[in-house]
């Protein structure tokens, strides 16, 4: 069932992709196929695959493997934490963002509060010193703190 739902969504995306690709045209052309042929070829294959997944008869009942307790909620929380890390990375700086994300992820993976807080500070500081100070890979200290 999930497969067919995905295939349906994918078919729509493929159509959108093909519609965009159709508009690509080279102003000057000195080759027989322009910029849109390859994407259209891909869209064709993709559509056939999606139709196959959508319509083929199922021999075996296919469902997702059951998640452990509170699986979807924990996965959603982890996705949220990772996106927050991505957005905060430059804004509050690497050390603080890393402390926060370590606490959030560490809790999701069953660490105790004190453990994950210590781990967060350790990772934030040690990795910053290692990469930024020692290895010359510049990391942000945070746009927020600059006046």
């Amino acid at each position: 069932m999930v497969d067919r739902l995905f295939a349906g969504i994918w078919l729509l995306l493929t159509l959108g992709f093909a519609a965009m690709a159709r508009t690509y045209e080279a102003q000057y052309s000195y080759e027989p196929i322009g910029p849109r042929a390859f994407p259209l070829l891909l869209a064709g294959i993709s559509a056939v695959c999606a139709l196959w997944l959508l319509l083929r008869p199922k021999r075996v009942a296919e469902t997702l493997a059951p998640l452990p307790d509170g699986g979807p909620a924990r996965a959603a929380a982890l996705i949220g934490a990772l996106f927050a890390y991505a957005f905060l990375f430059e804004f509050v700086g690497f050390p603080l963002a890393t402390v926060l994300v370590t606490i959030a992820i560490g809790r999701l993976f069953g660490g105790g509060w004190r453990h994950v807080a210590l781990a967060g500070v350790a990772l934030g500081v040690v990795l910053f010193l290692l990469f930024d100070t020692t290895l010359d890979v510049t990391l942000p200290l945070g746009a927020l703190w600059r006046t």
Partner: protein
């Protein structure tokens, strides 16, 4: 012997202090990553690649580092397979069958040391195979034109679709998704902006590192959330630490056989370490298991698959280095690493970058000795790493991955795009889509389109050029065979399992 002279030169490159250090660091990190369940060579190589690039390592040193990680993973996978009955990476799955029973009998030390030894023997055979066959293949491939290249890439994709994952349609679709991601950005031939949605960050296309880290670090982290075991019960590696001469003789021919078979399977695109170890385990079982001891802690059942996965990893380098067409997910990531350095792998590589190629091959010999030394006396250290809890490990992986992506362009856009791709990859994996074809498609996308367009430009739009030479016809036939034969085998097996009423 030309090759020997080149190899000698390669040793001079590999023996510089920085390259020795990279081989050492890579071997160590690789063994750790391989031992940790959930993380395999592709994750290790993906996470270290942007770091190596950010440290401004020269291309040769970066490649030596990544290759050492790859080989180290094939060693490391056996540690968790033997001590906690969970394969550390996919190639070590068969090792659990006899390795864990041996460990339960109190022979963990023997299992660990004999598997390290067979890994070593296999790697030496595999790397020697590279020295013997890679230059010849590269020489032959010099005659390839765009049409041949296009057909070769189709062949590589067909191999993957036939062999990886349970559903060829899903594998093919994963590959198409990768190819489609590669079309984002300015089209090199016409200057047309494709799929950029007017965003300047996308006009250069999607960064390779962003895709790789998204798919192999972020989505891996999400999958790790579902692992039920944490820390796990690690059996003590007590008793005899070394195998004895009798055991070495007992496993010798099985190791040699498995090394050679593993190497050949590794060279084939699509089939990697996991298929190699499964095939050789079955062969050894059929050939030598007269008393039915395989699966109950037979030492030969530990040596054979460990030999095979190492020589397969060596073999997998050959198509990547000589043809510029990687045959596995991990070598696809390495090829992407080379393109970051503006080096195009392919038949010219042996002529244009002899330092890189031969330095790499020589370093694999050196790294292998380092790995053997690390993996027998120091195995206890790696075993202890298996007890590192996930609440520390996962945030550390996340932080290092983000640093790697940020180091490339220093934009929040890349970080968000990487996270988004990781979540997308996570859902695809939940739906049983394999990731290796996706990354292969992404790496090959540009080359495939360019070769197709070049071929058709030569023929002025006539598609006959795509199957106009002996080589192209052979490749097309081989592609069809690789697609159809596994399907037929699977169909026969299914019909056997579900008897018709």
């Amino acid at each position: 012997m030309d090759n020997l002279a080149s190899l000698w030169h390669g040793f001079a490159v590999a023996a510089t202090p920085i390259n020795l250090l990279m081989a050492l660091v890579g071997s160590f990190v690789g063994t750790v990553v391989g031992a940790l369940p959930g993380l395999g060579p592709i994750n290790g190589v993906a996470i270290l690649l942007p770091i190596a690039f950010a440290l401004k390592l020269p291309a040769t040193s970066a490649l030596i580092l990544l290759a050492a990680v790859y080989l180290g993973c094939e060693y490391g996978g056996r540690i968790s397979a033997i001590l906690i009955n969970i394969p550390g990476d996919a190639g070590a799955l068969m090792t659990t069958l006899d390795g864990y029973p041996m460990a339960k009998r109190g022979e963990a030390g023997v299992a660990l040391s004999i598997s390290a030894w067979s890994s070593f023997v296999a790697s030496v055979i595999g790397t020697t195979g590279m020295v013997l066959f890679a230059p010849a293949l590269a020489h032959w491939a010099l005659a390839f034109g765009p049409a041949e290249y296009f057909a070769l890439m189709v062949f590589a994709i067909a191999c993957l679709a036939g062999m990886v994952g349970d559903s060829p349609v899903k594998t093919l679709l994963a590959c198409v998704i990768g190819l489609a991601l590669a079309t984002v950005g300015i089209d090199a031939n016409s200057g047309v902006y494709r799929f950029t949605f007017g965003d300047v960050h996308l006009s250069d296309g999607i960064q390779f590192v962003v895709v790789v880290i998204g798919l192999f670090s972020v989505s891996e982290i999400l999958l790790m959330l579902e692992q039920t075991h944490t820390g796990g019960q690690v059996l003590k590696a007590s008793g005899r630490k070394w195998f004895n001469l009798q055991e070495a003789m007992y496993t010798w021919w099985g190791t040699i056989r498995s090394s050679v078979i593993g190497f050949v399977i590794g060279v084939l695109p699509g089939a990697g370490a996991s298929i190699a170890s499964a095939v050789t385990y079955m062969i050894e079982k059929n050939l030598t298991d007269t008393e039915g001891t395989f699966g109950k802690g037979d030492i030969r059942g530990v040596a054979a698959p460990e030999a095979a996965n190492n020589s397969a990893a060596n073999g997998a380098f050959i198509p990547m280095l000589t043809l510029g067409v990687p045959g596995s997910g991990t070598t696809a990531v390495m090829m992407g690493a080379l393109t970051l350095y503006n080096i195009t792998p392919g038949p010219m590589l042996f002529k244009e970058q002899p330092d890189l190629v031969w330095g790499l091959i020589a370093s694999m010999f050196i790294g292998n000795v380092m790995l053997l030394v690390m993996n027998i006396p120091m195995v206890g250290l790696f075993a202890r790493m298996l007890t590192v809890p996930n609440w520390f490990l996962v945030p550390a992986i996340a932080a290092i991955s983000f640093v790697g992506v940020y180091a490339i362009h220093a934009t929040t856009f890349d970080l968000v795009l990487m996270t988004g791709l990781g979540v997308f990859g996570y859902f695809l994996r939940k739906l049983d889509f394999p990731m290796a074809p996706l990354i292969l498609g992404f790496v090959l996308g540009d080359m495939m389109e360019q070769n197709l367009r070049r071929a058709l430009a030569i023929s002025n739009g006539d598609v006959h050029i795509l199957y106009g030479s002996g080589i192209t016809i052979g490749l097309w036939i081989a592609a069809v065979v690789m697609l159809v034969v596994p399907l037929l085998l699977r169909w026969r097996r299914n019909n056997k399992l579900i008897p018709m009423p």
